[in-house]
Symmetry: C2
Subunit: 452 residues, 2 copies
Amino acid sequence: MSAAIENTDDLRLARLQEILDSGAMHSAQRLLKTLTPAEIAHLLESLPPTKREILWSLVDPAIEGEVLVNVSDEVQAELVKDMDADHWRAAAENLDLDDLTDLVQDMPETVVGEVLSALDDQRRHRVEAMLSYPEDTAGGLMNTDTVTVRPEVTLDVVLRYLRRLGEDMPADTDALFVVNRDDEYLGVLPLWKLVSGNPDDTVAEVMSLNLKPLPVDLSASEVARYFETHDVTSAPVVDEQGHLLGRITVDDVVDVIREEGEHQFMGQAGLSEEEDMFAPVLSSTKRRAVWLGVNLLTAFLASWVIGLFQDTLSKYVALAVLMPIVASMGGIAGSQTLTLAIRGIALGQLSGKNARHLLLKELAVGILNGIIWAVVVGIIAGVWFDDTRLAALIGVAIIINLLFAAFSGAVLPLLLKRFGIDPALAGSVLLTTVTDVVGFFAFLGLATLFLV
Amino acid sequence: MSAAIENTDDLRLARLQEILDSGAMHSAQRLLKTLTPAEIAHLLESLPPTKREILWSLVDPAIEGEVLVNVSDEVQAELVKDMDADHWRAAAENLDLDDLTDLVQDMPETVVGEVLSALDDQRRHRVEAMLSYPEDTAGGLMNTDTVTVRPEVTLDVVLRYLRRLGEDMPADTDALFVVNRDDEYLGVLPLWKLVSGNPDDTVAEVMSLNLKPLPVDLSASEVARYFETHDVTSAPVVDEQGHLLGRITVDDVVDVIREEGEHQFMGQAGLSEEEDMFAPVLSSTKRRAVWLGVNLLTAFLASWVIGLFQDTLSKYVALAVLMPIVASMGGIAGSQTLTLAIRGIALGQLSGKNARHLLLKELAVGILNGIIWAVVVGIIAGVWFDDTRLAALIGVAIIINLLFAAFSGAVLPLLLKRFGIDPALAGSVLLTTVTDVVGFFAFLGLATLFLV
């Protein structure tokens, strides 16, 4: 093991749990002192409720605010449920403006006024301005702590200006923004260009014009894509007239990307990306019940379809044995297409323009795989039940279902998006409905026509 | 629309497709000139094969290498399939060392030697050194273009040194690393501290000691978590003796986080995060067929279980109508637990230490939801088929299946991880196997015991 980061999360978590079990609170506090607020947040999320409460009580009040903005919404709600106004005010005290704005949005209504009025005028005005932008836009992600310079001054003047700023320079500034007299954004002067440039050059000569500013209403996911495709660590945000409003830093973009990934992954199971692994049993049960209820409708629809063919089923019990295979193959194939389409939409790579091509390709894949697996399943079913007509029927049903699966997998997400419904959440339920209903209907319907 | 970024991806994609359709290649080339290599990569991924080829032929050879490292592996393989050694050499020419190292790993064996020998000695040695680290470790992510300073010099001396470096200063440097005579890492001097500090202070007085260096063998996902919990934009990488080897920049970490999210999401459908939306039909069919085949085994296992109860089914056809409900409710409930567990493992928040608590909580949720839905489904089934014994049976079967689902959802991912199998890929297939088999067995088995 190297002398550097000794503790992977596992080790750290294990040690902390041991300490909490043994009740050696001083050791726990000493451990906490070596961690960043985000690391503490990460640990809090990893702990079951009782230990989470103990750890939270040990956190230094000076960083409580920072810890709170770093835990997921659900864990946050759990931690703050008994917090009074004084406590909130203390937590808000040392926060960056963007974090403070986030935290204010999660405060109980009754506390917000008190916390805001405790801020000095400048901070309060800035927070109020930032609160006016929706959370999932460039405006909601930005911080207003930009350092601006004029294009006509020399690098030497800029350096002297920064030295005068001294401690007041916003932490983690990696670039200065160049604006004109009207505060209109002109370009960016990265610090690495400032320090490596000739002191007698003007800002205008050295600044970069490649970094286009982000409109304040740009969606958070487009902001993320901008950072990914431009490899920048901060970007300017402007209003419609091009006035500089603030900057977005990459650490907030990283959170957006992490959340987008979790949203897609967890949405398919009807969970929110904010879901707390150790949420209380009752609230978990309630939320899960909703999702199970939605899916039960799907399941009953499929049952109803099967119910239409009770006569056929009672004559050929082999149909009951084999029918889940037809539905299941359709579900699996469809979910592959659906997954591709949802990712494509999320990345902004799939839209009405190229959807036709994806649809045709997926239909072709569906037909080919339909034929392959029709043959395989047909042979196995034929041998198992010694019935060639049954073998042919299940083969045809599989081909039909895989075609419908490909069609729904490609078209459903785009359709849902057009109607403003989140494909990551609703896509898989609807797809399963299609593949179950079509699968059972095709298989049992064909059997009723040709077997009975 | 603001004067800033006018084109969302959708608009840009639409315009490009129009241009490509109209054959106005000059307009396309003009559009390409306004885009970063990563944006071109993004567009290439969004285009169907024929248009993708046309666009690729219009890309400026000087940035081809950068475009290639930004597309997914599959699209890259498609683009380079006819590239000869000269072409590869040209593509490699303008790349950063870390990008070059990535690209070399994707080159055909026959070309690698030629491309490497065309590099100057220093570049070649550095690339060869970086090739020795696995891609998914800190070593594989790092770049060796660090700027180092000694602790005893003053900030003024540092500034003069950087000015002498001038154009040779690595782009996007946001911090200098402080090392001793033996090249051992001591601390970091962010540029914003350098420019806002007193020129007469020494580096040792100003540098930050909080940034622990990353061991070269740290896994990529732990590197990502380190960046997330420390809000840094670059971090030093050291060997076992603490010697500085290079730096990791946040742009590469952003890619890791994006890929982790996609891996989880796409893995559940048996797809790779590198999957090309417009992959050729035949290769798509082949890969999908493998996944369908794996799932077919599951489906046949379930069919075999049903087959055990053919006598019962032929007497009570209502069982065939209702049995998919039992399997489906188990599958949905289990996938919720599974999803939570997979995310917990991926984030390093779930391990043997707290798994017991998750298991108990999920079992409790499973029992409660089991009871709720047992009652609902029981009543509906009882009324539908006018049979109270059937109603009781399906209720009990649902409770049993939801318990097994909660157990498997919580335990399977940890078990898979212990055996070195990727839970994101294998978890959902195995879970469905359990919930199908248990669901059918419980329902039909109980029916055989108590109904017949």
